[in-house]
């Protein structure tokens, strides 16, 4: 077992895959310097810099995938997909249907997401539930270095478009770049277990669409992804002392959802609490409830999600994004209801 930081694990798995598969190429704004370790190993032809033209280079990534490459397209932050959604919404996601199943676009879109470091509402969104609304897109949101590497490998082998989101609070690289910038005077509430952890000696792809129960519990199932998992575990551990036994399920894949595993757990505990850093309405938390109701599972339900545009101030931001205190409060209410 080795130990790695989160982004280091992604890059390590990616490097492993690049060494094996010459069709994998990487591009995005500043990619050469941001992925400089890949650059010096694979050269500037496979690790390219792109102009600030997301529509062009993401669209190009989709078409390059059609034409036989396995591009990894880096978007600076998931928020910026706003300028180039068309490439995902109307192209990547639809080629397979449009071509009668004969052609797919195996492109991996890699983007940092999430908040908690004071960058404000245009730079801290999560948007995984938003992306998952579109049929044809696979959406992966790992919560640990081991998952991050394993899911990156899975993404690279998948025969359709995959969005791979890295939560910035888990990524030492992004936090250093965007948050601390060499100073020691700022603190972030970093989920340690997610930011650094053991990874397998050799990378194996993780199955896409498989959730995992991170923690068992009898009273409720807390369902989440990404850094939310660590908030949930923190809350669950504290709730233990109040004799509330909460399980924590890590979806890992937002689309497709692992319906069976989710239903099984919630059927047992009878309560689901969704922790979702993405926006609350019309997103993951809603879809999870629909899955349960469709399966005929009746349960108590609550959610702790981001409800508004994320405000800039660290104080307000902390109140806006899901955290352990908020989860505990809602969990207690859920037990009473």
């Amino acid at each position: 077992m080795r130990t790695m930081f989160f982004t280091q694990a992604v890059d390590d798995a990616l490097a492993r895959a690049m060494a094996d598969d010459p069709r994998i190429v990487l591009f995005g704004e500043d990619t050469p310097l941001l992925r400089r370790e890949l650059l010096v190993r694979f050269g500037p032809k496979r690790v390219r810099g792109a102009p600030i033209s997301e529509s062009a280079f993401l669209g190009a990534g989709v078409a390059a995938a059609l034409a036989g490459l396995r591009p990894v397209v880096e978007i600076y932050m998931v928020d910026f997909l706003g300028v180039c959604m068309d490439a995902l919404l109307n192209h990547a996601a639809k080629v397979e249907t449009f071509s009668g199943g004969k052609w797919t676009a195996p492109v991996v879109v890699r983007a940092p997401c999430g908040g908690g470091y004071g960058d404000g509402g245009q730079h801290e969104q999560s948007l995984w539930g938003w992306l998952a609304h579109i049929p044809g897109l696979t959406v992966l949101v790992p919560s640990t270095p081991a998952d991050a590497g394993g899911l990156m490998l899975a993404a690279l082998r998948h025969d359709g478009p995959v969005i791979f989101l890295e939560h910035k609070l888990l990524s030492e690289t992004w936090l250093e770049f965007l948050g601390s910038g060499g100073r020691r005077t700022v603190k972030f509430d970093i989920p340690e277990e997610g930011a650094k952890g053991p990874v397998p000696k050799t990378w194996e792809p993780l199955p896409i669409g498989k959730a995992i129960l991170r923690r068992t519990g009898d009273d409720m199932t807390i369902v989440s992804v990404g850094s939310g998992i660590h908030r949930a575990i923190e809350a669950a551990e504290a709730l233990e002392k109040e004799e509330i036994s909460a399980g924590v399920m890590d979806l890992r894949t937002v689309s497709p959802l692992d319906k069976a595993t989710i239903c099984e757990s919630v059927a047992q505990t009878g309560r689901m609490l969704v922790v979702d850093e993405d926006y609350e309405a019309f997103g993951l938390s809603g879809e999870l409830s629909a899955i349960l109701l469709e399966a005929g599972i009746s349960c108590r339900y609550a959610r702790v999600c981001t409800q508004t545009t994320i405000p800039y101030s660290r104080y307000l931001e902390d109140r806006c994004l899901p955290n352990a205190t908020g989860i505990m409060e809602i969990a207690r209410q859920l037990m009473r209801s």
Binding site: P51, S53, A60, A63, L66, L69, F98, S99, K102
Partner: protein, 342 residues
């Protein structure tokens, strides 16, 4: 090397006849929804497509049929696709705006301007997997105002991608005269994005063929992208059943439908002063007028006809060629209409 006029003419004729069949299907209601034909732009397509080889790619817009049939896609598959049949090119799931042929590395899209990024991506793959191959993007002059197309011209320049950007300039974007909403000059625009640009008469297949030939050669040899602007016409207007064309073709039938509510609104209380109202009316009438006087109404601007006239005089060869193409499309039509195998 001069172009082979006979084969260019054959390509154009085949496409024209195929699209005339499509128009018939559409008119008969066998095709629902919008239908954008490429009739009138055949010289642009043929002059470019004739230079393509195995491994070259095409990114197409909402008028992709002509390029695909000229590139060698089976017309039966195309027709069946438009009929929405499971044995169509895309299993009936794409339709005329979303035609895909993996075999021909060709992809269409109904999103204006998206041919730019798509061609850039195809060309990127060329660099790695098929050096010496190129990608072509076909789009209209209206698309030249869509950011992603401009972005991808710069991208192609920055990455030195083997892309030929072909602007089929018919002057119209649906009911809008593009000139009125397009600043500067398109060639200068392309150059300002780092792409050598040239202009050509899009009704003259030889001229297109020559211009495209040198651009494609440059791209193949690693000298990067090029931009080609070719003026052409669309006889049917924007799409089949286009209101402005109907109005001009059938004024007595169509005019009242439009003019009665128009005049009622013009006279309604509340709103702008007379001058503004009349200026609005002038805009509407202007659109009708310019459609009436439009070059697309003039059969002299038919590129297929022009290509035919430019052929060396050889009646026997001409007749053979034409009857062969006609037979091919006729057979395709018959075959497309066969019962769906179960």
């Amino acid at each position: 090397m001069p172009p082979d006029l006979w084969s260019l003419y054959a390509l154009m004729l085949k496409s024209r006849l195929l699209e005339e069949a499509v128009a018939m299907f559409w008119q008969d209601g066998l095709i629902s929804g919008e239908m954008h034909l490429g009739t009138g732009e055949e010289a642009v397509i043929a002059g470019v497509v004739a230079h393509l080889r195995e491994g070259d790619a095409m990114a197409l817009d909402h008028r992709g049929t002509a390029a695909l049939v000229m590139r060698g896609v089976d017309p039966v598959l195309l027709l069946r696709e438009m009929l929405g049949r499971p044995d169509g090119l895309c299993g009936g799931k794409g339709g005329h705006m979303h035609l895909f042929s993996k075999e021909h590395l060709s992809a269409s899209s109904g999103i204006v301007g998206s041919a730019g990024p798509t061609a850039a991506g195809f060309a990127l793959a060329s660099q790695y997997l098929r050096p010496g191959t190129v990608a072509v993007a076909f789009f209209g002059e209206g698309a030249m105002n869509q950011g992603m197309l401009l972005e991808s011209m710069n991208l192609a320049s920055a990455w030195n991608l083997p892309v030929l950007f072909v602007c089929k300039d018919d002057g119209w974007a649906i009911t809008t005269a593009s000139k009125a909403l397009t600043g500067g000059d398109l060639n200068e625009r392309a150059r300002g994005l780092g792409i050598p640009a040239s202009e050509v008469d899009g009704l003259d297949v030889s001229a297109v063929w020559e211009a495209a030939g040198s651009a494609v050669e440059r791209a193949r040899s690693g000298q990067g992208p090029a931009f080609l602007r070719a003026r052409c016409v669309h006889f049917e207007g924007h799409f089949l059943g286009f209101q402005l064309i109907r109005l001009v073709r059938n004024p007595f039938k169509e005019m009242p439908k439009i003019s009665i509510p128009l005049i009622r609104s013009l006279l309604r209380r509340g709103g702008a002063g007379l001058r503004e109202r009349l200026s609005g009316m002038k805009t509407v009438l202007g659109a009708v007028q310019s459609t009436r006087r439009d070059p697309r109404r003039d059969r002299d601007n038919d590129p297929v006809r022009r290509a035919r006239m430019a052929l060396p005089s050889d009646a026997a060869r001409l007749q053979e060629l034409e009857s062969q193409v006609e037979k091919e499309i006729h057979d395709a039509l018959a075959s497309a209409l066969e019962e769906v195998p179960s």
